[in-house]
Assembly symmetry: C2
Homo-oligomer: 271 residues x 2
Amino acid sequence: MAGVKDAALGFFDSGVGGLTVVRAVQDLLPGEDVIYLGDTARLPYGSKSPETIRQFAEEDVNFLLSKGVKAIVVACNTATAHALPKFWENCPVPIMGVIEPGVEAVLADESAERIGIIATRGTIQSHAYQHALATRKRGLMIHGIATPLLVPLIEEDWISEEVTKEVINKYLDPLVAKGIDTLMLACTHYPLLMPVLDEILPGDVRLVDSATTCAERLKEMLEGTDLLNAKGGNGKLEIYLTDLSEQFEELAKRFLRRPTGKVRRAVLSAS
Amino acid sequence: MAGVKDAALGFFDSGVGGLTVVRAVQDLLPGEDVIYLGDTARLPYGSKSPETIRQFAEEDVNFLLSKGVKAIVVACNTATAHALPKFWENCPVPIMGVIEPGVEAVLADESAERIGIIATRGTIQSHAYQHALATRKRGLMIHGIATPLLVPLIEEDWISEEVTKEVINKYLDPLVAKGIDTLMLACTHYPLLMPVLDEILPGDVRLVDSATTCAERLKEMLEGTDLLNAKGGNGKLEIYLTDLSEQFEELAKRFLRRPTGKVRRAVLSAS
C-alpha cells in the first residue's frame, strides 16, 4: 500500500535556479519522487518587496500542497529570507529553506572569518544570512552585497563573456579589498558562475553554495519525521513552470545537468 | 456636469518605463487626467511567453477599466506586440499601443532605409515592428535584436558605467556593421540610455523613440472619438504599481522627470 513516505518532495523557486538543489537531492536520495515548481511568469522575486514575495511564495506552497507533497523545500533564497518564518507557523507538512544549510556550509570550515555574501537585493536587504551567521558564531566579519545583474547575465547565457567578468569584478572588488576568505553564493542561479568566479577571485577565497548541504539537511529532516522513502533509485521528477518558453526549458537542463522530461504549465491561484 | 471627456486616460506598462510616454502626453495635453498602472510585481514582460503576456495585459486593462478611464494607451512595447490585436476586438474604450507611433516616427525621415531595432526578446520575437515597418514601406533593410540586459542595467542605475557601454557595444556592433541609418529604441526604458547611445553610435545614426509621436497620435485618437478634454492645464496623475518599493518610486521619478505624487498599490484580478 502506498503510504505518505511514497509521496513526492515539493520544491519551488522563482525560476529554474532551484533545480541545482533538486540535482543535489537526486544524487543523495535517488528513490524520492520530486515535484518542482518554478514561478517563471513572475520572476525575478529578488527585486520585489517583502509583502509581494510572501504572497507569491504562499501561492507556490499551496500549489505544491495541492499536489500532495510530503515535505517542501523553499529552493529560493529570496523566498526563504522573507517567507519561511511565516510557513513554519502554519504549513501542514515539514518545510525547510536554503539559508540555514548555506550558513552551515560556510561555517563547516572553522577558519572562516571574513564572509562575503552575494545575492539578490531582496535577500541582502532581508539580512537573513547576516543574521543567521552572526547568531551562529561570534566575531565574524560579514559583508553582503546585492548583485542583481548576475541573474540576467546567466539567463542571457553570457557566462564566458568579458563583460560578465567586468560586472563581477565591479561587484566583488570591494569584497576582495576587505580580505574575505569565503564567498557565499546566496542565490540558486549563481553556481553556474563557479568557473568565472574561480578565475577572478584570489585563490584563497573559498566559494560556497548551499545545494549539497541542503540535500543533507533534507535527508535528516525526512529521517526525523519518519518520511524518508526507503525504496531504491529511479525517483520521478515532474517540473511545473508558470510560464513555459524554450529559453526556460533550455536553462532548466543546464541547471539540472540532465534531461528534464516533459515540462508542464502550472496555474496558481491566490490563497 | 462631468462627462466622459472629463474621465482620465489610462496607461499601463510592465514597470515604470511607460512614464516616458505619460510625460510626453502631459506636455501635449496638460488638461487630461492620467491613471498609470505599472505591473512591477511581475515585471519584466519581455522575457515571458506570448500567452502569459496576453494574460497579464488583460488583467492590466481590466484594472484601468475598473477605474473608469475613457481611453487606454498600452505604454509597453512587449504588451503592444502580443496583446493589442486582441484588445482591438473587444475593448469597450478606444485603445492604442506604442508600436504604430514608433514606426511612424522612424519613417518620418524619408531617407531612413536601414533600420535597427533594439527591444526585449518578446518584442523582437513577435516581429511586430519588423512587420509594421515592412508593410509601410518597401525595400527597407530591417535588423531587430533582443537586448535583454539593458533594462536590468538601467534599473541598477549603471547608465554611466563602463560595463554598460561594453554591453551596448556588444549588442550594437553587428547593427553598426550593417550600416544602419536609424536605431529604434523599441522599449520604453531605453530613452534613459540616449546620452550613452549618442556617445557610442556613429554621428549619422538617428535615434528614435516613440513617446512624442505616441502623444500626437493619442491626441488625434481623442479628437476623432470626441473624447478630448478641452479644459486647460493641471490634469491629475495617479500612479498605481502592483509592487511598491523605494527603488521603483525612485525610478518612476527619473522616467517622469517630475514628482510622482503618492504612489498606490494595485491589486489585479484574473478576468
